[in-house]
Amino acid sequence: MSDTVLSTLAFTGVPPRIALVGNPNCGKTALFNALTGARQKVANYPGVTVERKIGEFLSPAGTRVQLVDLPGTYSLRARSPDEEVTRDVVLGRFQHEAPPDVMVCVADATNLRLHLRLVLELKKLGRPIILALNMMDVAEARGCRVDAAALSAALGVPVVPTVAIKRTGVVGLLDQIDRSMIAMTATLPPSPGTSSCGWSEPSALDLRAYHQEVETILAAALRDAGRPSLATRRIDAALLHPAIGLPFLFLVLFLMFQAVFAWAAVPMDMIDKGLGWIQAVAGAVLPDGLLKSLLTDGIIAGVGSVVIFLPQILVLFFFILMLESTGYMARAAFLLDRLMGGVGLHGRAFIPLLSSFACAVPGIMAARTIENRADRLATIMIAPLMTCSARLPVYTLIIAAFVPDRTVAGGMIGLQGLVMFTLYAAGILSALAAAFVLKRTIFKGAREPLLMELPSYRLPSPRDILLGLLERARIFLARAGTVIFSIMILLWFLGSFPAAPDGATGPAIDYSFAGMLGHALAPLLAPIGFTWQIAIALVPGMAAREVAVAALGTVYALSETGDALSGSLAGVLAADWSLPTALSLLAWFVFAPQCVSTLSVVKRETNSWFWMLVMIVYMTALAYGAAFVTFHLSSALLGG
């Protein structure tokens, strides 16, 4: 009979869907990786910004099964956008998406008291459930003995012991999935959406009743509770120590930054050279004309200017994934909660803000883990003030042109480095100040409570880290290939049309729409000391900040590219600009919302044009104000 049922399943055309549900820190993602391997893709749920992770595998009976990894949650009473997705998928509330046929509930065997409550809540929905009793190896090592058969009898659902990071128990789980699918088609006529009506938010009384039930079940199934992790306790005694904890955290962050710049330098250089080579080949092969200009100046240069950040983003995410999978990330939030609280931010805001030093795009995306909407919006709003790596080329160029390469403080500190540090510090301090103001005006209200599990420390599995990195790379490249690609083409169009008239003396960009825009903006920017050349460069600079450097090169009609351009451009700028103008431009770049990718991700993550506009207005106002003050103050001080 099983064969016929399975073949009927296969014939319906739609593969059966299985959802992985569980508390955070239960090893759900590791189990997802163990089941699907690299056959996974990430998309977005329609209308919301939560990532939808889907993979496929072939069950032992030969059925193609679709597996959905749902965001971790402690309860179906969702608190964050991520958890809402879990609730809505499980309850079948998503339009165009049937509820999962079978739910695989993942629970940490060492922490059943907490994890079984969610299992009971899910069981009440009346859908087929399998309990994957994960981290059995850790449980055994700690002397915790769970009787899986007794647990299954007490719970009334099949129980499969697994060790996801070692891919142990996966075969047993697959067999059970097959059995559950057969049982499902044999007993349940498919009637999607019926059981979701049966769910209502549990009251405090219901929750207590669930806990009672868990205690009864554990009394029957838990042979030995085991000992809590002594290693975790000892490590925490050092890493959460009031005197050691914060210095250690800052050391970790410092190493992370060093790595983001040091490790990424070589691959970035290779990408840069590769792009230059492609550009040169395309330039040599293609006939002069629009197509060549679109391909080399528009597409290759434009998309390349974003793709070049891939190595930095991967190094950054390598650290973030390591910190998360070892369990240190929650400790970092714990250590910083009080400090971040000083400006009204949640301890978790530190991850998005940290990511923003590489690029605000992943930073803003990382804000999803913040439960409270006001906290989340405040974090998104200040994330672009962190000095992202795209500002570096601009800073480097201007510093090289205007700041003498000498040391101060008795040869201890390089002046150029000091200026660079000041620019970073200005970004951080203004972000904190902005958060302080935002949390006291627009996002008023008491802080969201901190109720965060501190998971036991764990050695991460290299395979899971690698799969996580691949996923990040795919998401980033997909963005570069779609949104950013189209914006680059638009900006190329603005910079290339209309073409310069015959016999024109100035550079071609001067006659284009970008040039017209720049000239129109010039009077507005004159009070902050910007020349009309800067005004023009700022228009294509909207694509990405570092493009402004290339644009300045174009405006000053230089033909070199790359390092040669920076070198000679610095000389031209030093001769053409006053020092106050240069300082004013630096101040502008600390604040200006000079990046369409960031703005588009803000629009997407907040699901509103309003917050994107708020960001443009407040950052532009800050940038203009800071540049204005810098220009006039330095002019007065320098007697210019």
């Binding site: 608190r79 922490n111 925490d236 959460l240 009080r338 008491a446 599990e453 998971p455």
Partner: protein, 121 residues
């Protein structure tokens, strides 16, 4: 649902190790004085153990709807009968707290820990 406060016998005789918690953190100044401070998780210090006797979030300033903090706490394992121990304290102000609850560890701030009624021991 607000369970009754624990009997005064526990409250009146705190263990000798009991020290007063530092003054309320800036965010908690709006907390009205609580009848029996030593019976709230928020006043315990590092190393102290206790058993949860009830939850009362009426005195805690929170942006959450009424009763929501209580439900979240139950979901995180803070429920009557749970054995708790303060493992670590944050910095500065010995806030937030890392609390061992039966088999897992939870981080929470003192302000909200005031909603958890405990008896020492």
């Amino acid at each position: 649902m607000i369970p009754p406060l624990p009997g005064p016998a526990h409250a009146a005789t705190p263990s000798p190790a009991t020290r007063r918690a530092p003054g309320p953190a800036p965010g908690t100044s709006s907390d009205p004085p609580v009848g029996n401070d030593c019976c709230r998780l928020g006043v315990l210090r590092k190393g102290q153990r206790a058993v949860v006797t009830g939850l009362d979030d009426s005195a805690v300033a929170t942006p959450l709807p009424p009763g929501e903090l209580e439900r979240r706490m139950i979901e995180m394992g803070l429920i009557e009968g749970a054995r708790v121990e303060i493992l670590h304290e944050g910095f500065p102000g010995a806030d937030p707290l890392a609390v061992r609850i039966n088999d897992h560890t939870l981080a929470l701030r003192r302000a909200e820990a005031h909603a958890v009624l405990v008896t020492l021991g």
